[in-house]
């Protein structure tokens, strides 16, 4: 049973955050709009996830559909910026978001290009309670928006089948994370609307590793996303996790 409006505030969901995304949901697919940074980061995030999933599940990295047959859950899918590519790579994807407006946009956009994706306006807790299991569970740019990250990760981890994996990305609660992730991104460069992020909700890599461990997962890789102002380009960097970082964890 999908949860509507304020009721979505159940569990780890923060009602204020849901409201925040509802206001800008129609911009999800505008590469020059409020979600511009996500559009620009997308190729790197997808490279990280694809490479790990291909290795984990023994797939051919040269294939155009390397994820075919894998069942993947994209928690906090928003407009489907990562969900759609996963579907094109052959995965059987469930896109999940607590913001009804985002799910509506995601459905419409997928329909316009003829992509079949199972989008649901629901919560991770509800899916876990229904006993859903996945080869991989993804939560990109979600942890920093929930009320109780530890509980949220435990819930997500419970849906990862043995041998499966989890992919995450979030912002680091470091001084540099505050300066670049909030001050620069929202106030100086204006990449993001003001108030997109609350620095106090950011998660340190060590904290994330502990939360994953509590959920029975083992962290296998961490990569930072860094910005080069000279080239105006982002790249994956194994040494600099200070701002935005990606994590991959596995269940043995």
């Amino acid at each position: 049973m999908p949860i509507r409006g304020q009721a979505a505030a159940a569990g780890s969901i923060d009602a204020g955050e849901v409201e925040k995304f509802a206001r800008i949901a129609r911009q999800w697919w505008d590469p020059e709009g409020d979600f511009r940074p996500l559009h620009r980061l997308n190729p790197l995030r997808l490279t990280f996830l694809r490479d790990h999933l291909v290795t984990r599940f023994g797939r051919d990295p040269g294939s155009l559909t390397p994820l075919s047959g894998l069942r993947i859950l994209d928690v906090g899918c928003g407009g489907g910026l990562v969900t759609e590519p996963l579907a094109r790579m052959g995965a059987d994807v469930v896109g999940l978001d607590a913001t009804e407006e985002s799910i509506a946009v995601a459905r419409l956009h997928a329909e316009e290009t003829g992509l079949a994706i199972d989008y649901r306006h629901d919560t991770a807790e509800a899916l876990a309670a229904a006993g859903e299991r996945f080869d991989a569970v993804l939560a990109l740019e979600v942890v920093e928006h929930v009320n109780d990250p530890a509980a949220f990760i435990r819930t997500c981890a419970s849906m990862v089948r043995p041998g499966g994996a989890m992919g995450l990305s979030t912002l680091n609660r470091s001084p540099k994370g505050f300066l670049l992730g909030v001050v620069a991104a929202e106030y100086v460069m204006r990449w993001l609307p003001r108030g997109t992020h609350d620095w106090r909700k950011f998660v340190k890599p060590s904290e994330l590793a502990a939360m994953l461990r509590a959920g029975g997962l083992t962290l296998s890789d961490l990569k930072g996303l860094t910005y080069d102002p000279v080239k105006d380009a982002f790249r994956l960097d194994a040494r600099d996790l200070a701002v935005n970082y990606l994590a991959f964890a596995v269940r043995r």
Partner: protein
């Protein structure tokens, strides 16, 4: 109305469009190519009399898609390039610029191939790839009447998939409407329809450029002696005159001439025409005779203000047309092909939407500088050499001699002409896509 769904639809299946279509189909994408002419029509002797200089980089692209083995026997290697300032009456200036391929390695500078041979080879290859993969369809004869595209920005509130388009699942794609009523939906529509691209105009993309008051007269001659792989370019006052070595003691002549004079030469009977031609061609290869018809091509320079839009891209001559002075037009187009193929396949391997503007922008960024540079260089050369002013003649002769005596400058120019300078796509480097 019948509907089809592919990933890429091409308006135009010439040498550039079909090469890209084959590369993409081989890499796993589904493509449809719409062309006005059938394969038999474009292979006819009177369709296209030109030959192209295939640079090493372009040869690698042809190798990469599996075309080269089919046409290699017809390719005539260029071992030497001689460039000279000449005058039909006064003869050739002694200050020669001489490029010898041994200065840059074992490979020849390039190969001369008749366009007809390339087109035939491509069609045979396309047929084989179509049968093998089921991912390539050539629709000919047919034409794309119009390409319907969604707005640049997806706005859920005004989505085309809304009530107004209820039941049309592919409203977010580009739709090519064909003259026979068919509709082909695709993530990306590529205009490969040449320098007078209708689709470019329909997309509202402007072109910067100008006409040269020159026409290229193109024909093939058979000669008594072996050319030994030597290509010659004479800078005559009316325009450059090129002799390109072909197989079987033949050379392709590209004789660029003032438009009014060219018209006169083209109207002459064969004996008079051959007399004019021989005066320029010279007797270094013995007696010459004309084989096949004479062709003429008006020359112009054109560069599209942008190459891409949402779900739309220009490639080859549709994006840039240049003077044939340096024999680089098709080579530029094939470098477009290699860059576009790499951008699209890499995006597709990440699951990205290949028609999205941010993906296509990568292709434009990659190609624009190289294309502008070549357009500017060929334009400059044309202006510098297509005249008979004494001071300019002296200056350019010194310039040719200076380049000739400066090995690094000469090597750079040679490597550039071979298509080996810059950030090269995998296909141009001879690697797998």
């Amino acid at each position: 109305m019948t509907e089809d769904r592919v990933e890429v639809v091409f308006a135009g299946g010439g040498m550039v469009g079909l090469t890209l279509a084959v590369a993409l189909a081989r890499a796993g994408l589904s493509v449809a190519v719409v062309d006005r002419e059938t394969p038999a029509e474009v292979a006819a002797l009177d369709y296209d009399g030109r030959a192209s200089a295939i640079a090493l980089g372009s040869k690698r692209v042809f190798d990469g898609i599996g075309l080269w083995p089919r046409i290699a026997a017809e390719a005539s290697p260029i071992h030497d390039i001689r460039v000279a300032d000449g005058h039909p009456l006064r003869g050739v200036s002694p200050l020669f610029l001489h490029y010898d391929h041994r200065a840059v390695g074992d490979e020849p500078f390039g190969w001369i191939l008749e366009n007809r041979v390339i087109r035939q080879g491509l069609h045979a290859l396309a047929e084989e790839v179509a049968a093998e993969t089921g991912r390539l369809r050539l629709i000919a004869p047919a034409s794309v009447e119009r390409i319907e595209r969604p707005g640049e920005r997806f706005d859920a509130a005004q989505s085309d998939a809304g009530p107004a388009n209820a039941g049309r699942a592919n409203a977010g794609l580009a739709s090519a409407h064909l003259n026979d009523g068919r509709r082909i939906d695709a993530n990306l529509a590529i205009a490969a329809d040449g320098k007078f691209s209708r689709q470019r105009e329909a997309a509202g993309i402007r072109v910067t450029g100008w006409r040269y008051d020159q026409v290229s007269i193109v024909c093939t001659v058979r000669h008594a002696r072996d050319h030994r792989g030597t290509a010659v370019e004479l800078f005559l006052p009316g325009g450059p005159f090129a002799m390109l070595p072909m197989t079987g003691n033949r050379s392709n002549v590209v004789w660029s001439e003032r438009a009014d004079l060219a018209e006169r030469y083209l109207a002459m009977d064969e004996a008079d025409f051959m007399a004019e031609l021989s005066r320029r061609f010279g007797d270094w290869l013995g007696d010459i005779e004309l084989v096949g018809p004479r062709f003429s091509y008006p020359l112009s320079l054109g560069h599209a203000e942008r190459y891409v839009a949402h779900r739309f891209a220009l490639i080859g001559d549709a994006a840039h047309a240049i003077h044939p002075i340096a024999g680089q037009g098709l080579n530029m187009g094939l470098r477009d092909v290699a860059a576009m193929a790499e951008v699209l396949v890499d995006a597709r391997r990440l699951g990205l939407d290949i028609g999205a503007l941010d993906v296509l922008a990568g292709y434009e960024r990659w190609r624009r500088f190289d294309n502008v540079l070549l357009a500017a260089v060929t334009d400059g050369l044309t202006r510098l050499f297509s005249n008979d002013s004494a001071p300019l003649r002296a200056a350019r002769d010194l310039g040719l001699a200076a380049v000739n005596r400066t090995p690094p400058a000469k090597r750079f120019l040679m490597r550039h002409a071979m298509g080996l300078v810059g950030d090269l796509p995998r296909l141009v480097r001879g690697e797998a896509l």
